[in-house]
């Protein structure tokens, strides 16, 4: 659960040691990705044809590797000119482009792609921009030229994957929810900000403790739902709701609260569905919190 492990070591007469390990990402990595992270996101990109434009060799290689691991079929190029050439001859389901590249940069590339689509009467491709400049002005510029969303650099695989899934699942509708409000629903950092004005290390430790605790209650919920133990289900959901709402994981907390409320009288089917929803929401909350820890200024 949450890509982590819970271990128990017990020695008669000496007590027990419970260890909860949750993989967290480091803000220092240029691209953050682990095999565990790849498993953390279940939504497959199987068969998705993705054009990636990124001038930095290491980032390009890592993005390709991770997208392929998720089932994507990747064409990667080193600049906007090569991306435009690939776009003109190939068929793609998604374009991911760095914003800052020599020659034709990401913004110009997207503008040219949108012009070509308009003149051909083609459906607009979903396009994600990658940039370290996440100011509102830059975001506005990216969206104005025709990007559907931007993902902050340094790139976190989970965040990138989530953005792709969200974008492609909304592609037919042509609209995506505002990233800021969605992030706030998954993780609202206002409590964090009130508690840890300066001490980032302590704040991260607190968030890590929450993730470990939530993972344990997630296990309890899964087991109680599977075993039909309604009082245990209610107790675990109650505890998870309280800590989640307090830490700012609003969607998870609200769902857990719903499980707590309906647990005594819900049908088996309803209980299983809700428990599954809680686990999915927990995964999303974890991703949002990890992203926040990697790049707190983006969510704040």
């Amino acid at each position: 659960l949450l890509g982590g492990d819970i271990e128990v070591a017990s020695e008669l007469g000496h007590g027990s040691v419970f260890t909860a390990a949750v993989p967290l990402v480091s803000a220092q990595c240029p691209v953050i990705a682990t095999a565990r992270d790849a498993h953390a996101c279940d939504a497959s990109l199987e068969g998705m044809r993705i054009l990636v434009a990124e001038d930095q060799v290491t980032n390009r290689w890592l993005i390709r590797r991770q997208l392929e691991r998720l089932g994507g079929m990747v064409t990667d190029v080193e600049d906007g000119r090569a991306a435009l050439a690939a776009f003109n001859v190939g068929r793609y389901d998604l374009v991911i482009t760095d914003c800052h590249m020599p020659g034709i940069d990401g913004l110009e590339l997207v503008r040219l792609i949108r012009c070509a689509e308009a003149s051909d009467g083609a459906d607009p491709l979903p396009i994600l921009g990658l940039t370290a400049d996440v100011t509102p002005e830059m975001r506005e510029r990216c969206l104005t030229v025709g990007m559907n969303n931007i993902v902050a650099k340094p790139i976190d695989l989970i965040r990138l994957h989530a953005a792709i899934v969200l974008l492609t699942s909304h592609a037919s509708a042509g609209a995506i929810p505002d990233e800021a409000s969605r992030d706030a629903e998954l993780f609202d950092p206002s409590m964090y900000e009130q508690l840890f004005a300066d001490d980032v290390a302590e704040g991260h430790e607190w968030l890590g403790a929450y993730l470990a605790s939530a993972a344990q209650h997630g296990v309890r919920i899964e087991q109680a739902a599977a075993g039909g133990n309604r009082s245990e289900l209610r107790a675990a959901a109650h505890t998870l709701a309280g800590s989640s709402l307090s830490v700012g994981a609003m969607r998870l907390g609200t769902l857990a609260r719903r499980v707590e409320t309906v647990a005594p009288n819900a049908s088996e089917e309803e209980v299983h569905e809700l428990a599954d929803e809680v686990i999915l929401a927990m995964r999303s909350a974890r991703e949002a919190i990890i992203c926040f820890m990697a790049t707190p200024a983006l969510v704040a």
């Binding site: 206002s190 508690l195 403790a209 605790s213 709402l245 307090s246 609260r257 707590e260």
Partner: protein, 139 residues
Amino acid sequence: MSGGSAPDGLKVLIVDDESFMRRTIRLMLRAVGRFRAEEADDGDAGLALVPIFRPDLVLCDIHMPRVNGLQFVEQLRNHRQGELRHTPVVMLTGSAEEETIMGAARLTISGYLVKPVSPKLLGSHINAIFPGRQAEWQR
């Protein structure tokens, strides 16, 4: 009011079965002022700590195993040491059901806060419970 407060702030007993919540409440207290906090993981442990720690205030969860928050308050109000019976208690809970609130209202409590609670809200409740004693805990 119960036993004397320490020079470094009011004494607060946090009673909650979830260690992460105890930690979070402790951090919230730190964010709003100067407090000395002790923790208990259920009502029973809380009742054992009260005569030793002699808190100025108890922040108490409701749903806990063994002795729950309402039972804690009931037993505290009948404590054999009379001076402890009037210790202010604020319920800090995730329970917003009418039945639970009515159960708490029948006891003598100083507040009922439903999680999530912001440090600011907690601070304003403490301020209301201890009028004129801001110097003891506010920075």
